[in-house]
Symmetry: C2
Subunit: 595 residues, 2 copies
C-alpha cells in the first residue's frame, strides 16, 4: 500500500539554498517566518500529512464521495474518515496557515505555505482541494468584497468553519468563459437572484461544514455580451444573519456528482441555482468586472495546480522506490547468482532517476517562483517588487503546464516500475496516475498555459522578461564549469531556448497561428531549461557544502541527480526548439474535413 513521508530534507535544501528563505524572512511583513518557526511548521505539517491525510488517500479513492438526492441539505456524503480529518485539520489551525492575520490567519510567506501545500497535496490530493478552494474564495472576498461581505464570511472561511467554492464552468462555457449564461437579476435592495446551472464545481456540496460559500459568475440583465458582461456574486448555501448566525436555506442545490477518472473523494458537483425563485446573492466588486477579478486570482490558482503535479510526482516516486527495493525479480543483466531487487536493473534505475530528477527540478522551480511572489508582494523597493512580479507572471504558465505534464509522466513511470502490480488498483499507484490526469486540464489546459506564455509573457514585451531570465541562466552556466557535463548541456539548452524565443518574438505579430502551433513544445522547452538551470544551481550549492567539509551523502547525490537531469532531460531541448521553429507548414495544412 502507498505511504507518503514528506521529503523534508530536499524541501529545506530548496527553501534555503535555492529559493532564498533567509531573504524572504527579511521582507516587510514576513518577519515572523524565522528559521525556528519555519522548522516547527514543516515538522508538524509533515506529521499531519503522513499520519492523518495520507492514510485516507486510497480508501477515499475506493469509496468516493456519494450523492443522495433524498438528503436535501447534505446531499453529498464524504468517504469514511474525511470529515473527522477535516475537523482535525481545521482545529489544528492548518486551514488558517496561509490566511490573512486580520481574519485569523497566520499570514506566512507563500514560500513556506507552498512547502506545506505540497505535503497536503501529496498526502491526499482529493482532500486538499477543499481548503485550496476555500482559501481561493476567501482571497477573492478579501481583495474585492464589501466590508459587510468580509465581516459575514471571512473569519469562518479562514478558519475553515465554512468552506468556499468557485462556480465558473457551464456546459457550453469551459475554457471560454465568454459563453457564460447564468443570470443575476437585481432584487432592488442591493441583492440579486441567481439562476442557472454550473458544472464541475469542486466541493460544491459535502458533509464537512454547516455552510458553503459559493462564488458565482453570472450576467446581469443589461450586461454586454462576452467576457465584458460577467459579474461575480457571493451566494451562500445558508444565508447569514447580521449577527453572524445562519439564516434561511438558499435556492442552490447540488443535483448530481460526476463520475470521474480520478480524485474520486473530491465531489465534483453539478450545481443548480434558482430552481425555486432564485438564489440570493450579492455582488463582489463592480458589475461586469467578474472576469477581471478572476484573472487577478489566476496566478494563485495556477500555481496551486502546478504544485499538484509536483506533489503527486513526489508521492509516486516514493512508492516506486519502495517497490523497486522490495521486489526481487530476475538476475542482474551483468550476471548474478541469485535474483536481485529490481532497483538493481538498469532500466528500473533509469526510471527512478528520471522521476527523482524531475521531482527535484519541479520543486526547485515552484519554490523559486513562490519566493519571487513574496518579493513581488512585500519587498520595500518598488523596482524589486515589479521585477519579481514580471518573473512570476512569466513562470506561472510553466509551473502550471510543465509541472502537471511532468507529474502525469512521473506517475505513469511509477505504474511502469510496478509492472503488472501497477495495473492492480489495490497497489494504489494507478490512483496517482488517475488523480494526476486532471491537473493538465483544470485551471486552464496546457495549451491555454502555453498560449498565455508565448503571447502575453514572451511576445507582448518583445522577449524582454525572458531575456532577463536567460541572462541569469547564462550566469549559472558560467559558474558551473566545475560540473562540465552539466554546464555543456545547460549551455546547449539555453541556446535552444534563445533560438525559439527569437522565432516567437519575430513571428508572433504576423504569423500567430504558426507560432501558436509550437506553443506547447515551447512551454516544455522553457520547463526543462528552467529545471536544468535550477538543478545546476543546486549542484553548485551542494559543491559548496562538500567543500566546507559536510559529509552528508545528500550533497553528492544532488550533484549526480543534476547531472542525470542534464544528460537525460535537457538533451531534449534542441528537438523541442526544432518543433517550435518548424512552423505551421505541415501542422496547419490539412483542411478540417481531411481529418
Amino acid at each position: 500500500m502507498s505511504t507518503y513521508l514528506p521529503p523534508l530534507k530536499d524541501m529545506r535544501f530548496v527553501l534555503n539554498e535555492l529559493a532564498g528563505m533567509e531573504r524572504v524572512a527579511q521582507l516587510p511583513g514576513c518577519e515572523e517566518a524565522t528559521p525556528d518557526v519555519v522548522e516547527a511548521i514543516l515538522d508538524e505539517a509533515a506529521k499531519f500529512a503522513a499520519g492523518v491525510l495520507a492514510p485516507l488517500n486510497h480508501s477515499g479513492d475506493r469509496e468516493g464521495a456519494h450523492f443522495d438526492a433524498q438528503l436535501a441539505d447534505k446531499a453529498v456524503t464524504m468517504p469514511a474518515g474525511f470529515k473527522a480529518a477535516y475537523w482535525q485539520f481545521v482545529d489544528t489551525g492548518w486551514n488558517a496557515l496561509p490566511g490573512n492575520p486580520e481574519y485569523g490567519g497566520q499570514g506566512l510567506p507563500k514560500l513556506v505555505s507552498a512547502a506545506v501545500q505540497e505535503m497536503w497535496k501529496a498526502a491526499n490530493m482529493a482532500f486538499s482541494l477543499c481548503p485550496m478552494l476555500t482559501l481561493g474564495a476567501a482571497d477573492a472576498l478579501e481583495r474585492f468584497g464589501t466590508e459587510v461581505q468580509k465581516q459575514s464570511y471571512l473569519a469562518n472561511m479562514v478558519s475553515g468553519k465554512w468552506t468556499g467554492t468557485m462556480n465558473l464552468t457551464e456546459p457550453q462555457a469551459g475554457s471560454d468563459l465568454a459563453a457564460i449564461r447564468a443570470r443575476a437579476v437585481p432584487v432592488g435592495d442591493g441583492t440579486y437572484r441567481i439562476f442557472g446551472q454550473k458544472i464541475f464545481i469542486t466541493y460544491g456540496e459535502h458533509d464537512f461544514t454547516e455552510n458553503i460559500v459559493h462564488l458565482v459568475l453570472a450576467r446581469t440583465p443589461d450586461a454586454p455580451e462576452g467576457v465584458k458582461g460577467i459579474s461575480l456574486f457571493v451566494v451562500p448555501k445558508f444565508l447569514v444573519n447580521a449577527d453572524g448566525s445562519l439564516g434561511a436555506r438558499n435556492d442552490v442545490q447540488c443535483v448530481s456528482l460526476e463520475h470521474k477518472l480520478g480524485i474520486h473523494a473530491s465531489p465534483t458537483c453539478v450545481m443548480s441555482y434558482g430552481e425555486a425563485g432564485g438564489a440570493l446573492g450579492t455582488l463582489v466588486g463592480q458589475e461586469n468586472e467578474g472576469l477581471k477579478l478572476m484573472f487577478v486570482m489566476m496566478n494563485t490558482a495556477r500555481f496551486a495546480v502546478g504544485m499538484e503535479g509536483l506533489a503527486l510526482a513526489e508521492r509516486a516516486t516514493q512508492q516506486a522506490v519502495s517497490y523497486a527495493r522490495d521486489r526481487v525479480q530476475g538476475r542482474a543483466v551483468e550476471g548474478s547468482a541469485a535474483s536481485v531487487a529490481i532497483i538493481h536493473h538498469p532500466d528500473v534505475r533509469r526510471m527512478l532517476m528520471l522521476m527523482r530528477c524531475k521531482v527535484e527540478a519541479m520543486r526547485a522551480l515552484a519554490y523559486t517562483v513562490a519566493a519571487a511572489h513574496d518579493a513581488a508582494a512585500c519587498h520595500a523597493d518598488a523596482g524589486e517588487r515589479a521585477r519579481n512580479q514580471v518573473f512570476v507572471d512569466l513562470m506561472i504558465p510553466v509551473v502550471k503546464g510543465w509541472c502537471t505534464e511532468t507529474g502525469v509522466e512521473v506517475a505513469s513511470l511509477a505504474v511502469q516500475v510496478h509492472g503488472g502490480m501497477g495495473y492492480m488498483e489495490e497497489t494504489g499507484v494507478a490512483q496517482l496516475l488517475r488523480d494526476a490526469r486532471i491537473t493538465t486540464i483544470y485551471e486552464g489546459t496546457t495549451g491555454i498555459q502555453a498560449n498565455d506564455l508565448i503571447g502575453r509573457k514572451i511576445a507582448r514585451d518583445g522577449g524582454a522578461a525572458i531575456r532577463v531570465l536567460i541572462a541569469q541562466m547564462r550566469g549559472v552556466q558560467g559558474d558551473a564549469q566545475s560540473c562540465a557535463a552539466i554546464a555543456a548541456r545547460l549551455g546547449a539548452g539555453i541556446d535552444a531556448l534563445e533560438r525559439a524565443v527569437d522565432y516567437i518574438v519575430a513571428k508572433y505579430a504576423t504569423e500567430v497561428r504558426t507560432v501558436a502551433l509550437g506553443a506547447v513544445p515551447f512551454l516544455h522547452l522553457l520547463g526543462i531549461v528552467s529545471g536544468g538551470w535550477l538543478m545546476a544551481r543546486a549542484a553548485l550549492a551542494a559543491q559548496v557544502q562538500i567543500a566546507a567539509g559536510d559529509v552528508d551523502p545528500f550533497y553528492p547525490a544532488k550533484i549526480i541527480t543534476a547531472q542525470f537531469f542534464a544528460e537525460h532531460v535537457l538533451v531534449a531541448a534542441d528537438g523541442l526548439a526544432d518543433e517550435v521553429i518548424a512552423g505551421g507548414g505541415s501542422g496547419l495544412a490539412l483542411g478540417e474535413a481531411q481529418f
Copy 2:
C-alpha cells in the same frame, strides 16, 4: 459516446503500398488471399467491429466482469451482450480466420489477419483478448502437442467453441519465469496432477463456452531449478473423452478476479490448481522445455500486444477528431467574430496531427513486420525466409515496445483534446487511456523489450541486422529528395540511430549495465526512425499516385502527415541518441540506499 469506424482507406494503402500485399499473396500457401478475398474480409470485418463489438466497449467497461464463488462452474459472469457477441463472432467464422485450415481455420496470411486484428482490438480490446489467447494456445498445441492433444482440442479452439488460456505468472514469478513453483506430479499413466496458484490469467474463467483449455507452466518433481526445469501442460476445465464429449470437471478453479485500472470486461483471474487432489493434465512437448516453447510463441504474442497500442491509438484519434470538430469553444487566436470549433485552435490541431501521424507510422511499421513474417514463414527461397526472419526478430520488440508506449501517449492526448469532458468517464475516452496502460506492461514490459533489442537483436550479431535496415532507410532517404523537409529530418534521424548503434555494439560486451541504461531511449529512437522511414515511403507512394493523376485528397494529406511526423516526432532522434550515449555515469552512480 465513443464510436469506431475501421480506417479502411489507410489500411488498404498500407497493405498495398507499403507492406506489399501483392507479393504476400504470391507466396506459397498464401494464394487464397486474392485482392477480392482481402477486400471482402476487410469490409465484413469492419462491419462486425463497428456494428457488434464497438458498441459494447463502454458498457463492458462500466459493468465489468463479475465473480461469484457460488456459481461453481461459471464463477465469472461477463458483461451484458458479451456472450451473444462472442457467439456471433464464432458463428460468423471470425475466430477461425487466422487458424490452420487443417483444423477448420482459413489460414490467411498474417498481413491480412493483422489488419483484421487491429479492428477487433480497436472496437473492443477487452473482448479481443479472448480470441487472441485462444489462438495463441491453439498455436502452441498445433506446434508442440501430441496427435491426441491436437485431436482433442484443436478443432474446437480454432472454431471458438472452446477458449484457451496461458498460465505463466505466479505472485513471485512475473517477468522472471525462473521462479515458477507450480508442481506437476506424474500419475504413472502419462498424465500429471497439477498443483499451484497462477495469477493474472486473462479469461481464466468466463461464461462464453462450456470448456476452457488452460496451458500451464509447472515443474515436475525432479526438474532442475530455474528456467531449465519448467514444463508445459494442457489442463482442460472439463476433461475430454476419447469421443470428444466432455468428461469430469477438472480440479482447477478461478478463485477471484483482479480489480484493474482498465480492460474491466476482460476477466483477470487468480486460478487455483489442485485444491482437491490435483488437476489432471498432459505434457506438451518435452519435459523441461516449457520455456523454450513459450519463447517460440513470443513473437506472435508481442506483435499482438503492439497491435493493441496501434488499435487504441486509432480509436482515440477518431474520438478526439470527432470531439474537436463538434466542440465550439473560444475565439480563433488570429481573431474571429464568433467562437470556433476547437479543431481550429493551433494547439488542438497539433495534438490531432501528432496522434494522426503516429497512428499512421505505427500501422506502417506493424503491417510491414507482418508481411515480413509471412515471407519468413512461406517464401520459396530459404535465404529470403532467413532474411525476413532476421528483420521480424529485430523489429518485434519495437512493434511491442514503441507501439504500446505511443498508444498510451496518443490515448492521453485524446483525453487532453476533450478538456474537462475527457476526465468524465461517461465520455469513454478515459477508458481508452486506462485500457492502453496495460499494454506497456504485459507480454514483457518496455524495459524487457528494450533489453531484448539491444542484447539479442543488436549486440549479439554485432549490429549486422540493423545495419541492413539502416541501408534500406538510407535508400529511402535518397529517394525522398523530392520531399526536402522529410529527407533532411530522416537523414538526421538515421545519423542519430547509427551513432547509438555504434555505441551499443562497441560497449555491450564490456559495459552491459551502462548500455542497458540507454535501452529504452534506444527503443524509442529506433521506433521513431523506423516510423520516419516508412512515412517517407508513404509520402513517395502518394507522390506516385498524384503524378499519375489521382486527385483523391488522401494522397496530399499523407504527404503532409509524413512531413509533420518528420518535423514533430523525428526531431527527437538526436536527443534520444544523446541519452543512449550519455552512459551510466549519473544513472548508476547512486547507491540503492540513497534513493
